[in-house]
Structure formats: structure tokens, C-alpha cells
């Protein structure tokens, strides 16, 4: 698989998701099922590596790119991971420009509150995950 195809497929998966692992179903479909560029086991290993590495969990796509196309694939995957993040700039500009309007401010406040609720839910899932990992690492727990 060429690096350009890796970039385009990963960009599609990442740009249509809203969390680090949100791109997983699309990557599974494109890389494992449709194009068979990597195996299901390799995809699981990529996710594990992403979870075990400091920094963004979404960096697991770099492992996918590496397994699919070597170092050029890894570089393509890294670029695909970065590209959608720049959409934050126009969003930020719009929010700054309209933030003085009460309804816009209220909408942003509501998004922040909902984000906190989503964070709490993620925290609970992470706590369960941490407990499982601790149980495996320290059998006496």
C-alpha cells in the first residue's frame, strides 16, 4: 500500500471521528477488511501500543501506517493525524468573534458543561481500565 493511500484512508477515518480511538471502526473496515493491508491482530496491537505510549492515544494510527507501508506509511499516518487538528483555528476564531453575544456564550458554556460530563464518563472508564491493569500487574490487589 502506498503512503499516499495510507494518508488518504487515515485522514478519512480521523476526520470523521471526534476522539482518539473514534477512528478505529473505519480503519478496521478500510485496512483490515477491504484492503487487507494489516491483520486484525496487528490492528489490536496498534491500539495496545497507542494506549501504552505517553501522549495522544490517537497516535496508534502511526502504528497502523507503519504496519501497512513501513516508515513512509508511518510518516503519512502522522500527517493524517495532524491535519484535522488545524480545523480548531477557524472554530476558535468564530468563537472569539461571537463570544460576546449572550446566546453564543451560553452555547459555549453548555458545550463546556457537556464536555465535563463526557470527561467524567471517560474518567470512570479509565478508572475501570486502570483497576484491571493494576490487578494484572499486582495480583494481590
Amino acid at each position: 500500500m502506498s503512503a499516499i493511500v495510507v494518508y488518504l484512508l487515515l485522514l478519512k477515518a480521523i476526520a470523521t471521528s471526534f476522539a482518539g480511538l473514534g477512528s478505529l471502526p473505519q480503519i478496521q473496515q478500510d485496512f483490515v477488511e477491504t484492503r487487507r493491508a494489516i491483520s486484525a491482530e496487528q490492528l489490536s496491537q496498534s491500539v495496545l501500543v497507542g494506549r501504552s505510549t505517553p501522549g495522544p492515544i490517537g497516535a496508534y494510527v502511526v502504528a497502523v501506517g507503519y504496519l501497512a507501508a513501513g516508515w513512509p506509511g508511518a510518516i503519512a499516518a502522522w500527517l493524517a493525524m495532524l491535519t484535522p487538528a488545524f480545523a480548531a483555528i477557524p472554530l476558535l476564531v468564530l468563537i472569539q468573534r461571537w463570544l460576546h453575544l449572550p446566546r453564543v456564550r451560553a452555547a459555549v458554556d453548555a458545550v463546556v458543561i457537556a464536555s465535563a460530563i463526557l470527561l467524567l464518563a471517560s474518567g470512570i472508564r479509565m478508572a475501570a481500565d486502570a483497576w484491571q491493569q493494576l490487578s494484572r500487574a499486582f495480583p494481590m490487589v
Binding site: 480521523i14 476526520a15 471526534f18 476522539a19 482518539g20 477512528s23 496491537q45 496498534s46 501500543v49 494506549r51 501504552s52 505510549t53 505517553p54 501522549g55 495522544p56 492515544i57 490517537g58 497516535a59 502504528a63 507503519y66 504496519l67 516508515w71 508511518a74 502522522w78 493525524m81 495532524l82 484535522p84 487538528a85 480545523a87 480548531a88 483555528i89 472554530l91 476558535l92 468563537i95 472569539q96 463570544l99 449572550p102 453564543v104 456564550r105 451560553a106 452555547a107 459555549v108 458554556d109 453548555a110 458545550v111 458543561i113 457537556a114 465535563a116 463526557l118 470527561l119 467524567l120 471517560s122 474518567g123 479509565m126 481500565d129 486502570a130 491493569q133 493494576l134 494484572r136 500487574a137
Partner: protein, 191 residues
């Protein structure tokens, strides 16, 4: 949203180093990293709580990895395009290189008990940071007149979460609900 004076006194190189350090020392994803960045940049005066809340909202609404969107937004606020590019590279390049190395050596690394223990402790610390981040986001809203509106939004968001509604839909519905409820409290209520 940010302290202009502080922006001038925080050189791009120092900003980049701070992002690199804070993002690449946490396990468990970007949520913990966001909390570290919030603490660092609020402590040095480059950002305030309102600015951080805006960045969190934007990062949630941006497609892809939340922490990278947060870093792009933070970099853009402080140093425009140079800051955005420097921040996203600093936040992602070290992790990506480690991912490649680990991918090659995965099986052997998994077998080391010490590595498994360190990973477990790392995830636990990251979990605590996530709870701390959620608390800091909610803190401005648990006061006086804004509390009722915030409670309604939080309950609706929680109900949608339990109903397996996707995060982006939860955020969009919350935004609409917040705008619709804006008559019940002035914006200054949540300052």
C-alpha cells in the same frame, strides 16, 4: 481569553518545550495532558480559565484527536500559525516515534512485569488527572444563578450519554439547549 502581556514574554521555544513536556509525560490519552497544560499555562499567566474552557470546547468540536486540536488552538492563541504548528508537532512527534519503536518490539515489552506495573500506575495517575480536569471545568458553573441552567444541561448530557448518543451529538444538542436557555441567566452569571 489570554494575557497579551504574558504572550509576549513566553517565547515560542519555551512554549514548544512546555507543550512537548506536558503532553508526552502522561499515559491514558489527551485528557490528562490537557489538565497538565491547563495547570502550567494558567500558573504562568499565559491562559485563564475562560480561555481554557474555550479551548476544551473547540477541541471537543474539532474532528480527530482532541489533544492535538487543543494544542493547535493554544499555539494559535499564543503565537498564531508558528505556535499552532510548533505545538502540534511537539505534541505528536515524540509519541509517534515511540509508537513506531514499540510496534517493532511489542511482544517482548509486553512480557516484562515491570513494564506492565509502570503502565498500570501511569493509567491510574492519568485517571486522577481526568477527574481533576472535569472538576475544573464544572467549577465556574456550580455557583449561584448559573447552577440551575448548568444542572439541566448536565442532566440532559448525562441522559444522552446513557442512551449511547455519540459525543459530538451530545455537544451539539447541549449547545442548542444552552442557547435556548440563555434567557434564564446572564452570561456574567458564570464568570
Amino acid at each position: 481569553m489570554l494575557n497579551e502581556h504574558r504572550q509576549e514574554s513566553l517565547p515560542l521555544s519555551r512554549f514548544t518545550w512546555t507543550v512537548l513536556r506536558d503532553v508526552n509525560r502522561t499515559l491514558g490519552g489527551g485528557l490528562a495532558s490537557m489538565e497538565l497544560l491547563r495547570r502550567t499555562f494558567i500558573a504562568n499567566g499565559a491562559l485563564d480559565e475562560t480561555g481554557n474552557a474555550g479551548l476544551v470546547a473547540v477541541s471537543r468540536l474539532t474532528p480527530g484527536t482532541n489533544i492535538l486540536a487543543y494544542c493547535v488552538g493554544l499555539g494559535w492563541l499564543l503565537h498564531r500559525w508558528a505556535g499552532a504548528v510548533a505545538a502540534v508537532v511537539a505534541a505528536s512527534l515524540p509519541a509517534s516515534l515511540i509508537v513506531c519503536v514499540l510496534t517493532v518490539a511489542l511482544v517482548r515489552i509486553q512480557d516484562y512485569p515491570v513494564v506492565r506495573m509502570l503502565l498500570a500506575i501511569g493509567v491510574l495517575v492519568a485517571t486522577l488527572l481526568v477527574f481533576s480536569s472535569a472538576a475544573s471545568l464544572l467549577r465556574p458553573y456550580v455557583r449561584r444563578p448559573a447552577l440551575a441552567r448548568a444542572s439541566i444541561i448536565a442532566m440532559v448530557a448525562g441522559a444522552m450519554l446513557l442512551a449511547d448518543v455519540t459525543p459530538v451529538r451530545i455537544l451539539l444538542v447541549s449547545a442548542v439547549l444552552g442557547a435556548a436557555l440563555s434567557g434564564s441567566a446572564r452570561p456574567s452569571d458564570v464568570e
